[in-house]
């Protein structure tokens, strides 16, 4: 197989899917309707932890337009499911995984857990009726934080004796680790809080289940990242035969991991639609989303570094306490472990140890959120490196340079302290490019000037060199981690009789631009125009094989599968063309969409003509199947490891505590790029999402487990007005793992940016004796931190 080398690949082609999405032509779940549909209205728990003593549905059931009201206990008795909601990542053999049904039965364990379901003719009617259901609770002590869970004074599940769900160690050589710390000149220890975040995709989640009472089929439209996984899980939890289930993810308006799950509402819609013989739908409201969709992060981290006198790392020891929330969702327990391998970052660390304890709390379950474990890891090591730099007395750039894997030189397939083999890397030039573009020495001079002048607006400069692990994933590696599925991806490419091309993609877009990127790959591989390619996806009836989109895997796995399928198409076409041109296949050259006999430039055959010949099948080589259609299921041999250096510049008003992010420079390296426009968009969005964690976003809970900011009124998602024009640049270190040389870029920005921003804030405040600040660095928190450091 040859890499894509010329043509449209590598050019900033405008996205094909945008006109229909921007004009409202693209249909999201909420835009799709079915005759006779009923709306679900969820009665949600108002208590974080309580026994349900009574549910009175009489008034609600009597309201006009209400078709039915079911309590959790009634639904359980109806036998709608054969298994609880799935957790596909049982990280240890003794992991505690309490049964988690779509509705609470006799005990609620987080605010927002579904207690009863109303089915009504209209959405408004469902909301009105849900409000009339009266639930009596007998309160139980709520576990409203990781600290409380660890403390163990109360348990999140009344039938548990502890809140601990699992203990997971990755300590390759404990003695070497202890020795590293014993022999070190410098040691530092830091504790960080990864606050809970509420994912806020532009399109909330929603479902529409359409039954076929006589055929026995059911179609579920869901705003999901994972239609294929959902199909398997709907079968496994409801007992509906898998071949009777069709899942469609229509236009999906963002996911960020929050649509990578199997949710109560999805199972309720499918089973109630089948039960009632009518379509059943639901769209979460924005405030409901704070409870009905999983949250991100939720970790307490302790990181210790040991170094020699020059700041050369000798050891790194990490412990994480992770907040599972009330239940294990699809990959809840595995999220912190996805970061486990990256706590040594881009650095050569001889001795490494990581342990993680998972805890249940009476809060909304956590699960994947852009970066999933890796932003947390990157934050810890990159903050710790700055703290070590202060301890050693060198600059943040220098401490990094002294410790880069490969000594800052290009490398391939290098084994890391975290037991991984990085496919490629070249960190030194990446850092140089970032410092250069940021005009680093000028920034330092301006910072010094303000410090000397006692300016109330102090300048802070923050660095972060991140690496991430993505392109999930080699199936064997996932098996080794007890993950419940493989990591391959499927792609199919077929010529239609008229010379147009249909691509069937197993990976499913929810905003990434698959239709554009796949068209570009296919166009160059087959020598055709991208406009002649259509990409079919996100419907299990059209694209039956796939493992969907998460973990920055689409291009590095799914895109590679499609490129490989194109190669197979060309090879079959070569045999047909050779047969029809009466030439030896080895004598044919394929370029610009045509086969030409070497040395006879006038003997040529366009691939579309070959495709038509394959369709008519009038004159094919003996034994060859008609049609030009090939498929590939690609299982990567390794992950991919994109990296980059980000520089954040902040101005902190030391009087009010306000932080203003004035400049952001990002030099990323995601290997070869298919569409630089899409790459840049991913980098921008990713950076803002990480900056948001650093400065704005936090799901805040009171001691009773109530979320204090479940709407956009108080949960502050930044807008374009809050972020500077981001300066991007790229170095290119192709992956050695896949033939396209590509790496993922969907999560990279988020993985690099929170640490860069907080490093900058701490840098600005270092003259005031401030060494750390919790995220988000709100004005009040910055002001109070300065006050405390000064007193």
């Amino acid at each position: 197989m040859t890499a894509v080398e010329s043509g449209v690949v590598g050019t900033p082609m405008v996205r094909k899917e945008d006109p229909k999405l921007l004009t409202g032509e693209g249909k999201y779940v909420d835009d799709i309707h079915a005759h006779g549909e009923l709306w679900m209205g969820m009665v949600r728990s108002t208590m974080a932890h309580a026994r349900i003593t009574n549910v009175d549905t009489a008034d609600a059931a009597a309201m006009p337009g209400v078709h039915a009201v079911y309590t959790g206990a009634q639904l359980q008795e109806m036998g709608l499911w054969i298994a609880p909601l799935p957790c596909a990542w049982v990280v240890t053999e003794d992991m505690v995984n309490p049964p988690h049904y779509p509705t609470a039965i006799d005990e609620v364990r987080h605010v927002g857990e579904i207690v009863a379901v109303v089915l009504a003719e209209t959405r408004y009617g469902a909301a009105d009726a849900a409000e009339q259901v009266v639930v009596d609770y007998e309160p139980l002590p709520a576990v409203a934080s990781i600290e409380a869970a660890r403390d163990g004074g109360a348990t999140a599940h009344s039938d548990h004796s502890t809140n601990k769900a699992y203990h997971w160690p990755l300590v390759p050589d404990p003695e070497a680790l202890d020795a590293a710390f014993a022999n070190a000149t410098h040691t530092i220890k830091a504790e960080f809080i990864q606050q809970r975040l509420i994912p806020a995709a532009m399109e909330p989640r929603g479902v529409l289940a359409i039954p076929s009472p006589h055929g026995g089929d059911v179609t579920l439209y869901s705003s999901t990242q994972v239609p294929h996984i959902l199909k398997v899980m709907v079968a496994a939890t409801t007992g509906i035969p898998e071949h009777k289930i069709r899942i469609v993810a229509p236009a999906v308006g963002g996911g960020f991991g929050a649509k990578l799950n199997v949710n109560p509402d999805e199972l309720l819609a499918v089973t109630l639609a089948n039960k009632l013989g009518r379509p059943v739908r639901w769209t979460e409201t924005r405030s409901e989303a704070a409870f009905s969709t999983h949250q991100g992060r939720g970790q307490l981290q302790t990181i210790e570094l040991a170094s020699d006198a020059d700041g050369k790392l000798m050891g790194c020891r990490v412990h994480v306490d992770a907040d599972m929330g009330a239940y294990m969702m699809l990959i809840t327990p595995g999220v912190p472990l996805l970061g486990s391998f990256l706590y040594t970052g881009v650095y050569a660390v001889p001795a490494f140890g990581f342990t993680c304890d998972g805890y249940f709390t009476n809060l909304t379950p956590t699960d994947a959120y852009r970066g999933a474990g890796r932003p947390e890891a990157s934050y810890a090591i990159e903050r710790a490196m700055d703290i070590l730099a202060l301890e050693v007395g060198v600059g943040p750039d220098e401490i990094r340079r002294r410790n880069y894997l490969g000594d800052g030189q290009p490398f391939e397939n290098l084994e890391t302290p975290g037991s991984l083999v990085f496919d490629s890397g070249n960190y030194g030039p990446n850092l140089d490019a970032a410092l250069d573009m940021a005009k680093y020495s000028e920034l330092r001079a301006e910072q010094q000037r303000r410090r000397d002048a006692g300016d109330t607006k102090q300048l802070g400069i923050g660095l972060c060199t991140y690496v991430e692990i993505c392109g999930l994933a080699p199936s064997r590696a996932l098996g080794g981690l007890n993950y419940g599925a493989g990591g391959w991806e499927h792609g199919m490419v077929r010529f239609l009789p008229t010379g147009m091309v249909e691509v069937v993609s197993g990976s499913t877009p929810h905003g990434q631009g698959h239709e554009t990127s796949w068209s570009m790959i296919v166009a160059d591989k087959l020598g055709i125009d991208p406009a002649q390619v259509t990409v079919l996806h996100s419907d299990t009836a059209i694209s039956p094989l796939g493992l969907d989109t998460y973990g920055s895997r689409s291009l590095a796995v799914g895109g590679v599968a499609i490129a490989m399928a194109c190669d197979k198409v060309v090879e079959k076409a070569r045999l047909i063309a050779a047969h029809q041109m009466e030439a030896n296949p080895d004598d044919l050259e394929f370029a610009g969409g045509s086969f030409t006999v070497k040395g006879s430039p006038d003997k040529t055959m366009p691939i579309q003509a070959v495709a038509f010949g394959a369709f008519t099948a009038h004159d094919l080589p003996d034994g060859m199947e008609p049609n030009l259609q090939e498929q590939v299921t690609y299982d990567p041999a390794n992950f991919v490891f994109p990296f980059g250096t980000h520089v954040a510049v902040v101005e902190v008003d030391t009087v009010t505590g306000e932080t203003n992010l004035t400049d952001y420079i990002a030099i990323d390296d995601c290997g070869n790029q298919i569409n630089p426009l899409i790459v840049e968009g991913q980098v921008h969005g990713g950076i803002v999402q990480g900056v948001a964690q650093a400065l704005w976003e936090e799901a805040a809970y009171d001691a009773d487990g109530n979320c204090k900011n479940p709407s956009f009124l108080d949960y502050l998602v930044p807008s374009p007005a809050e972020v500077p024009s981001i300066v991007t640049g790229f170095t290119t270190t192709p992956s050695t793992t896949n033939p396209l040389g590509v790496k993922g870029v969907g999560e990279a920005g988020t993985i690099g940016s929170a640490a860069a921003v907080i490093n900058a804030v701490c840098d600005a405040l270092s003259p005031y004796g401030v060494t750390d600040i919790e995220m988000p660095a709100t004005p009040r928190r910055v002001w109070k931190t300065i006050q405390e450091a000064q007193s």
């Binding site: 009105d128 009010t656 502050l716 807008s719 007005a721 809050e722 004005p779």
Partner: protein
């Protein structure tokens, strides 16, 4: 985010709106731009049984020269205030404050009368009216009356308007050449102020505070101190005296009081420069 059911009445004149209010009493709410009321209804924090839509009363949208004052129709949208040439010369503070409300879509829909009648202590425009010593014209079944801005905000989301009265006009004393400042402190451009300060210096100095109590408030301590000849720094130091600042995720009372002192100093410095 799904409001409870309600009846909808469209009023084509102020008189019709007032008649509808008289008919439906406390159960009715006027709907102007809807940018305060509709969110409350979606959260089901407000559930009026009748909405009287006054958004199509075209003769209440104007910015006129009233002689010694500028007269602004209650249904004038923030965008019109923000772009008014007359206000630019006669009351630039108000023009500027209107530009700080929400985001462009809010400013193209929301109205000055709706914002003032809502009486939100965190809103920008009430503080401007207080600092400018403006007044409100209320129309009821028995005719018109003029309410000084400083007597208008009576409680949390409560005003001096009677249940059957409608705010029809806002009057701003002309003050060409006066010094002014609006200091809005928030975490995102589109948000309400965590604390805000409006100041007008025109011989005497008017100062009002945003989000430092249950209502939009005049900074009485500051005004008294200045009237007594205090320096800017000394006047700013008492900015939080006598206030009862709210507490929320953004700020506790201590931090709000600190911000009030800092922002008053910045506002006075700018207004008097």
């Amino acid at each position: 985010m799904i409001p409870a059911s309600f009846d909808y009445v469209e009023a084509d004149s102020a008189a019709a709106a007032i008649a509808a209010l008289a008919q439906h009493g406390d159960e009715a709410k006027l709907l102007a731009g809807g940018h305060s009321l509709i969110p409350l209804m979606k959260f089901r924090l407000a559930a009026p049984s009748v909405l009287v839509d006054i958004g199509r009363i075209s003769d209440l949208s104007y910015i006129n020269d009233g002689g010694d004052h500028v007269a602004i129709g209650a249904l004038t949208r923030h965008r019109a205030v923000e772009t008014s040439d007359m206000l630019a010369s006669e009351a630039p503070l108000l023009k500027h404050v209107a530009s700080q409300v929400g985001d462009p879509s809010v400013r193209h829909r929301g109205t000055i009368g709706g914002s003032l009648a809502h009486g939100d202590p965190a809103s920008d425009l009430p503080a401007a009216l207080l600092a400018l010593n403006g007044s409100m014209v209320a129309q009821g079944p028995n005719g018109e009356r003029v309410i000084p801005a400083r007597e208008f905000f009576t409680g949390f989301l409560e005003t001096a308007l009677a249940a059957d009265e409608m705010l029809t006009e806002i009057r701003i004393p002309k003050a060409a050449g006066a010094g002014w400042s609006y200091q809005k402190f928030n975490r995102r451009a589109q948000d309400w102020a965590i604390v805000g300060v409006a100041a007008v210096h025109n011989g005497s100095t008017g100062v009002a505070l945003v989000n430092m109590g249950a209502t939009p408030i005049v900074a009485n301590s500051v005004e008294s101190a200045l009237a007594g000849g205090a320096s800017i720094a000394d006047a700013a130091a008492v900015a939080a005296d006598g206030t009862e600042p709210p507490e929320d995720l953004n700020a506790d009372a201590e931090y709000r009081s600190h911000l009030a002192r800092v922002l008053v100093e910045r506002a006075l410095t700018e207004a008097q420069s």
